[in-house]
Amino acid sequence: MKHSTLALAIVASAGFSAGALAQAKEQFVPHSYYWVGPFAASGSGIAGGAIDYLNMLNERDGGVNGVKFTGEKCETEYNNARGVECYERTKKHPPTGATLVHPLSTGITYSLIEKGTADKIPIVSVGYGRTDAADGRIFPYIFPLITNYWSQNTAKIKFIGMREGGMDKLKGKKIVNLYHDSAYGKETLPVLEAQAKMYGFALTNIAVPNPGNEQQAQWLQIRQIQPDWVILRGWGVMNPTAIKAAQRAGYPRDKILGVWWSGSEEDVIPAGDAAKGYIAAAFNVSGTNYPVIQDIMKHLYAKGKGEMDDKSRIGSAYYNRGVVFSIITSEAVRKAQTRFGKGQSMTGEQVRWGLENLTIDDAYLKKLGATGFMQPLKVSCLDHEGGGAVKFQQWDGKQWKVITDWIASDQKLVRPMIEASAAQYAKEKGITPRDCSKEN
């Protein structure tokens, strides 16, 4: 059985890439996420949202201009090697290979950067991934869309400034950056140092060893420092542990500012009452009161076809994030079809063009039914981020309440850093940056 299954896999993946089945009119999207392990709660939520939205489009509209989405789920266990294996297994799937890939892991994104570029498959890392890939001249196939870690960080400092009464009031204030001791956690150190110099606040960086279920020493240090604000850059169990440890140390939770990967229901519910007042950033909101979510309920769950077993998770921050992922996927395909053939299956290379020329403004959002749900997006050759703004929400014990409007990031500070880092990568790899004016 083993041999025949694997032989089938060889035949299937080796034979069909020529696009011989042009009449298939399907768009294949791999769903390589994680449903087990320490991050299963977030992974399964995002996967549910992503898969549901595409299925809803199939049901409601017949796909994008008649081209229906097909998908294959693959378990990556948040592990680089598994992520690469899932990518290799699904990249040549008929009819036109993988449309694009959402790795949902910064580590897997890094591993796929060269492979995706060589295979001409866009790697989309919404709200995570390699920050300097926002410079599309050097990373044509990598899209850290909507907002990246550095942009978000500047928006957070802006928020703190807002709360303190102005950016000039930041001078002399003490901010502690409590971060997860990993690649993800360390990404924002340079941009924080740059802002500390610029605005004159005292920055202390405190690392929490993986997985972060023991933070007493760190919070005792925080108690000693007595900062005005604590930025929480956590992941998984580190988040509720931090909130509880803050309670134990007597630190007010409404002075703790979490990143968007520390700002979901799964992060605060285990902390119970301790989490009341905790503020977190978000590039998408929670809630089911949006036409997109209502449509998913109507077309899928009413017919018993939804992904989530536990319906109460629909509308959670992670579920909605998955929906945002798939909105990007479907609209990039739609845009690609305007140039390469309406109603045809798009290849990864064509979808790349679609992503790079994707503009989602307010009117477009209204048509999608996502006003207020996600921010407007404008991607270009130069700017693979496309957005840069975040909202802030506060947990009141039962749900997240949005407390600000979209706060833009400080691109004046961030963009030069991105370009410098990307240029260094280009030098190391011998990549000639594209000339964006020559592209259309």
């Binding site: 080796a14 087990v36 680089n80 690469v84 290799e88 040549k92 580590g107 690649a183």
Partner: protein
């Protein structure tokens, strides 16, 4: 009937001491190497080359390393992933800072660095034994990962600590396609496996096995404990270091410290136990089993859900995969505690008589 050594006479000492004394074995191994080096890269598709065969070879090399330490020398170690991490990051640094060295010498030097780390963390083995030693090697595992993340020089001061491996250029020939990377990995692993086999048949190997079986008696007959144990750690870490370098260069293309967690150490230990403790062939068999099993389960469940048309939530599927993986490990340990190598040995014994019953 076919597999017999009747009629094969040895007339020189060299012939008598061959690794494969039976002619049929030599033919089989030669055919296997021919297929592996020539037929597979030509015929296999990219998925198999880059996602199955290359990691299999790399993990087999790491398993070889751990087998030398745990299987032959009897020192239980859970720090394998840390040694791989040292090899990966040091290889990156050598290629980055001394590009005139070349890739292969960089790998070798990276292995030497890993060996140095191995010697330092092997020092407790002079005093501590058994499970206590295993847990002590965990100190190595966590410390090395912490050091890699703290010392900015190691990751070339990258903000996130993730490094991308450079292109492999040997004598002007670029190894960038999956087939070429596979052949390079295969060549390195084959050479090192041969070295390991011969090392274990030599005096060093016998000293290792003596230390494993009864170290007090070994020291009584004159085998130097410190030198032998530390040599075992050094050689084992060298192998793991080269495996780590290959992991970064020919497989993933990037490395971050989180890729080398305790989980990986446990996986390699699984490969040792399931393949067969103290067996070179067992290292390859165990690595194949552990690399292929999750993929096989995943493809199997995919096929089942397609065929039956049932919509099972993927959370259920993934958890079932995990349960079955664990259950199969336990089952295997119950059924054949000496590992796949023992099964192979039994098969060879039966093959000698086949097709006759006795």
């Amino acid at each position: 009937m076919l597999y017999r050594e009747a009629g094969q006479f040895k007339s020189t000492y060299a012939e008598d001491q061959q690794i494969f004394p039976i002619r049929q074995d030599r033919i089989a191994v030669a055919a296997l190497l021919l297929v592996a080096f020539i037929v597979v890269p030509l015929l296999a598709n990219q998925y198999w080359l880059s996602a199955i065969l290359t990691p299999f070879l790399i993990f087999a090399l790491a398993t070889l390393g751990l087998n030398i330490l745990t299987g032959y020398a009897g020192q239980l170690s859970l720090g394998t992933a840390a040694f791989m991490a040292v090899g990966a990051f040091m290889a990156y640094n050598f290629v980055l800072r001394m590009p005139w060295l070349g890739v292969i010498p960089s790998f070798i030097l990276a292995g030497v660095c890993a060996a140095a780390v191995g010697i330092v963390f092997g020092l407790p083995s002079l005093r501590i034994k058994g499970f206590y030693l295993a847990v002590a090697t965990l100190a190595c595992q966590f410390f090395v990962l912490w050091a890699i993340q703290r010392i900015g020089w190691i990751t070339n001061y990258s903000a996130s600590g993730v490094i991308t491996a450079q292109k492999i250029v040997i004598l002007g020939y670029v190894f960038d396609t999956p087939a070429r990377k596979y052949v390079l990995t295969l060549a390195i692993v084959a050479v090192m496996a041969l070295l390991a086999k011969n090392l274990m048949r030599s005096e060093t190997g016998r000293a290792f096995m003596a230390v494993r079986d009864m170290d007090v008696a070994a020291s009584v007959i004159g085998i130097p404990m410190m030198k032998t144990k530390l040599l075992a750690f050094a050689i084992s870490s060298f192998y793991c270091g080269v495996a780590g370098a290959l992991f970064a260069y020919t497989y993933l293309g990037t490395v971050e410290p989180e890729a080398f967690t305790l989980d990986l150490s446990f996986r390699i230990l699984f490969m040792v136990i399931i393949g067969g403790v103290g067996s070179i062939l067992g290292s390859f068999l165990g690595a194949a089993f552990i690399v292929l099993l999750p993929i096989f389960l995943s493809v199997l469940f995919g096929a089942i859900s397609h065929a039956s048309g049932m919509e099972i939530s993927h959370a259920v599927v993934s958890n079932l995969e995990l349960i079955i993986f664990g259950a199969l490990i336990v089952f295997f340990l119950i059924v054949e505690p000496h590992g796949l190598a023992r099964l192979w040995q039994i098969a060879k014994e039966k093959l000698r008589l086949w097709p006759f019953p006795h």
